[in-house]
Symmetry: C2
């Protein structure tokens, strides 16, 4: 059995940065919180709790504490509530998400209704929406483009969505607008990760995607792979059974942007154990990925 | 043999307006010219010459004359030359083309390199390009999208191109831009005419497209139909032979935006004559076209 690890798997720049900010802030601190999970990895959130970083669900719960703003950002109203209650905020929002929020604010201030291509329940999208006081619309799939006409329209993407979704949705929007102003806010790391994962899926009998079930970018990797080969999405190694892997010859591994390396190693060890050490780790250097990760 | 005429065939608003302006200007005038053909119908240009409206090819030829600016617009440098030589200009540029020129000027003044989706040799495109002093690029087909990256990019279409071309080209451009600002400058009349023609082609054994071979919108109608059924593009009725039509049961007729009605009538009479008056004109009311022509 051959096991290959996709290039560009695991922590992205924004996640690494958020963890570093959180750990530095927690050093010797009491009463340190995140509002919602700092990143979408339940295992990593548990690890952070061992450093005293606790998670609150509601901003009204927090008073006079240090609050780390999660990597996905928080809404302006949550921010306002936190500040009103005497909390000190430390911003661990991914800089690419902050940039997208700024684009929303700019488009709105220039009179553009704003369409965000993404998941309406995702915290990143909820936070982005709060930066526009005017008309907003979240479109999750091209079929959701409504039958109306806009003189002008601003368009952005959730940072972890993919180019194909952006292209197809914009194609459907075009007959409905006179002026369309789009900021491509898809994170380069996301698109490169997806490209590398797709390349690996094409030469694998089974793809195992490791990452939080609440992680949008991880789910997107699983969705992409399931269109190509047999695919398994797991959060931790113990979800993998002997039956699932025993008849596979070529297993590909990849992990979402919020998945810590140790969870990837755990999965490799698990497969190795289940197969009686009959695995071979193969280099992925021959997988054709053209670009360098830039964020 | 059944003959059907497509809805929305023949003169569009901009062409009618240009002819009206030209004829009013020619009333009692000497030395009245257009620079290039007023519209892309050689037969109509000949008709205009009978009203004393002559055509010049080069702006340097014209001095102290009345010059009607053609429906496709003229470049700023041609305009400058004409004015320098003491000519009086009467603007018959289609208002939708003028609007597109203004968008080019605006995008350029705001620092956007400008892409025009269209034919680089078409006078409308040449005129539009002159409104940008910065980087410009004409893209005739999606395959022409170059392998480069723009931080910001303005996009427009030649007014007579179609939505599918705009959609496909924008899709190809998206991975190459950070910010894309697009004005949909496709004329509504053009898109409605294309929709009606496509609908008719689907129920015809032969489509006859009537209009100038130098007319971009007429050529586009012929290209659309040739993907659906047997198609003939003619300028005048005498190009149609008995052999071409004798075995056809259902003939569809349509005409470009610069084709005068009498040329359409000529074609009908020609078919009728060649078939020994065995034609039946069928209503097109049942052809499903949803929208009203708005320009």
């Amino acid at each position: 059995m051959e096991i290959r690890l996709a290039q560009h798997s695991g922590f992205c720049f924004g996640v690494k940065r958020a963890i570093q900010i959180a750990l530095e802030a927690s050093d010797g601190q009491q009463d340190i919180f995140t509002l919602g999970p700092l990143i979408h990895s339940p295992q990593m959130v548990e690890e952070l709790s061992r450093h005293g970083i606790r998670m609150a669900e509601n901003p009204a719960e927090l008073h006079n504490s240090t609050v780390i703003v999660r990597s996905h950002g928080i809404s302006l109203s949550d921010k306002e509530t936190l500040l009103k209650n005497g909390n000190v905020l430390i911003d661990a929002t991914c800089p690419y998400v902050s940039k997208a929020q700024e684009h929303v604010r700019q488009l709105c201030s220039e009179g553009y209704p704003v369409v965000i291509i993404g998941d309406r329940d995702h915290p990143e999208v909820i936070a982005m929406l709060s930066y526009c006081g005017g008309e907003t619309l979240v479109i999750g799939s091209p079929d959701e483009v409504p039958d109306k006409f806009w003189q002008k329209l601003g368009v952005l993407s959730q940072t972890t969505k993919n180019m194909a979704l952006l292209q197809e949705t914009v194609s459907r929007l075009l007959p409905h607008v006179k002026e369309l102003r789009l900021f491509n806010t898809i994170c380069t790391a996301t698109s490169i990760r997806q490209e590398a994962t797709t390349a690996l899926a094409k030469i694998s009998d089974l793809m195992i995607i490791i990452g939080g079930r609440n992680s949008s970018n991880t789910r997107m990797l699983a969705a992409l792979c399931s269109g190509i080969t047999k695919t398994l999405h797991v959060e931790t190694a113990d979800e993998i059974s002997e039956e699932q892997i025993s008849s596979q010859h070529r297993i590909g591994l990849t992990a979402g942007a919020s998945t810590p390396d140790y969870l990837i190693v755990d999965v490799y060890n698990r497969i190795n154990k289940l197969t009686g050490n009959r695995t071979t780790v193969t280099s992925v250097e021959d997988i054709p990925v053209n670009k360098e990760e830039s964020c």
